[in-house]
Symmetry: C2
Subunit: 331 residues, 2 copies
């Protein structure tokens, strides 16, 4: 019991392969009579086009590969990914493209990705959380179009991306602290080799100017534990702080624990602001005032860029989307 081919459909409809193919590929020049006959034949036989055969001649694969560069352990800690995957599947499906996933955590992985992509097995590449200076970026050049969700920093040849305006978000939070009358405002940043690490600190400094001294700034690595450590450190260095802007909700959860351990009340003694508006923001006590990124729109725009490039656009502009302050109880 073999699967029906385009031949079988053509025979059942009393036309030739060519006509069926034209109908399938949206060509004009198919008579109404042929059209209905073929459509009936397709549903009768349960025909589904064979993508392998199609790829062979069209030189297109009908798939886009999403490359996850995150070190394996912390993959998906970020709710960002789930939204991106969901939106990607959805938008690609509309164009009859499928999403294949690959990891690029170590050298072996990266090699595999390069072979796959350069071997012509994907029509497009969707980079996620690729780090600056990742050799993957160079290796991928010259292949199918690639975009990134979130900026890739430290590159001369810019790769198109859509991202939230991290700097704006940081300004919003810092300004909110100022408007609350807080005077000694500290910050816990992310790693300084990531866009989020750098830009959120920039926004913070934009507002505070020279008041953003080194003494009031500590660095974390996005993990909850690092947030706790950084907060403890800050309290030692500057016991009189009355607000702290933490560059991610998860680190902010850690900071809350450290503040509690030190006997500070939140927000009475110290106001705490997070970033991301992730699910932990509402499970902490008190719930976190934070900055919401338009995750769905970021994902949509990223895919829009990629699809445009796949369709042959020469060049696309990066997209930067505004963030939003979400006020809860921690500030």
């Amino acid at each position: 019991m073999k699967r029906p081919t385009i031949h079988d459909v053509a025979a059942a409809a009393g036309v030739s392969r060519g006509t069926v193919s034209r109908l399938l590929n949206g060509d004009k020049y198919v008579s109404p009579a042929a059209r209905v006959a073929i459509e009936r034949a397709i549903s009768e036989t349960g025909y589904v086009v064979n993508r392998a055969a199609r790829s062979l001649v069209t030189q297109r694969t009908g798939s886009v590969v999403m490359v996850l560069s995150e070190p394996h352990e912390k993959l998906f800690e970020d709710p960002n990914y789930s939204t991106l995957i969901r939106v990607a599947i959805r938008m690609l499906a509309e164009r009859d493209l499928s999403l294949v996933m690959m990891l690029a955590g170590d050298e072996g992985d990266r090699e595999r990705v390069v072979r796959y992509v350069r071997g012509g097995h994907a029509d497009g590449v969707l980079l996620v959380s690729t780090h600056a200076g990742d050799p993957l970026l160079d290796a991928l050049g010259g292949g199918p179009p690639a975009v990134s969700c979130g900026p890739v920093i430290g590159r001369e040849t810019v790769i198109p991306y859509a991202a939230a305006d991290d700097r704006l978000g940081a300004r919003q939070m810092t300004e909110y602290f100022v408007s609350l009358g807080r005077r000694r405002i500290a910050m816990i940043t992310g790693p300084m080799d990531t866009p989020g690490g750098i830009q959120r600190l920039e926004g913070f400094a934009d507002v505070l100017g020279r008041k953003a001294t080194k003494r009031l700034i500590a660095h974390g690595d996005w993990t909850q534990a690092s947030g706790e450590r950084a907060m403890t450190e800050l309290l030692e260095r500057a016991p009189d702080i009355d607000a702290v802007f933490v560059a991610s909700d998860l680190m902010a959860a850690g900071a809350l624990a450290a503040l509690r351990a030190a006997g500070r009340r939140v927000p009475d003694d110290v106001a705490v602001g997070g970033f991301d508006d992730s699910s932990v923001a509402v499970s902490t006590h008190p719930p976190l005032t934070t900055i919401r990124q338009p995750l769905a729109e970021m994902a949509q725009q990223t895919l829009r860029l990629l699809l445009a490039l796949i369709d042959g656009a020469e060049h696309v502009e990066p997209v930067i989307l505004p963030t939003e302050l979400v006020i809860r109880e921690s500030a």
Copy 2:
């Protein structure tokens, strides 16, 4: 500048297509001389086998499709998925299989999945959180092998799966409460049409017997808000409860909020136990005592089953893995 074909490699190595093909497919009967010549030719030309052409003749696609049946909004709320995806990519890559993702949230999605799979575009199917009575299951019958991560309940034709022993986990937590001397132990379950909803309640009842009265049981839908509601409800019905087993960490976070609102101290007045050992378990205050599922091993076993079936195994047995009690501060 076309990509090199097997022809080009053969020519460069001074042999025929057949010999190159044999080397590529691990056939014996390739002379050492030919072997080195071909290997050099491959690396010189940068040859990568064309999967489409291969699929066409082998009738295999080299890909496995992961079907996410979760309603879209709550997709990936569960850290389970990230582990599964990671492990799946990894184990499939070892066999040179790629992972493609599809959604099966609504009727249109489901139709697409069925067309894709029945159209012969996947060598295997990896079902995730498929609900009982999902029409997808019937539609997929007769196609390539399918397995599920987590049991699919209420089916006559059982589909192979690997899962954590939910019932055991629930017993562990309940027994722990008993050992602490708690007397009025309540439970907040998941939806009763999911395996986790049913089996965690069963384990609870296993230990408490007739003491597990309806008055002490409330139902949630896995969301934090539902946990909060259920807890409030329980406190009204039975103000004297001194412990509550919540079927997921996220719902437990909601329950903690309700308890705090009611002025109960945790764990002094009421002990709280969660389930999953997800990331929220450590961001709540106090951190949750919970049940850890061996996520990585569940994923590995699920993939092992699938790969065995793809390799032609007639039948595989479901795998049930033990859970583990993780004691933190909430109980």
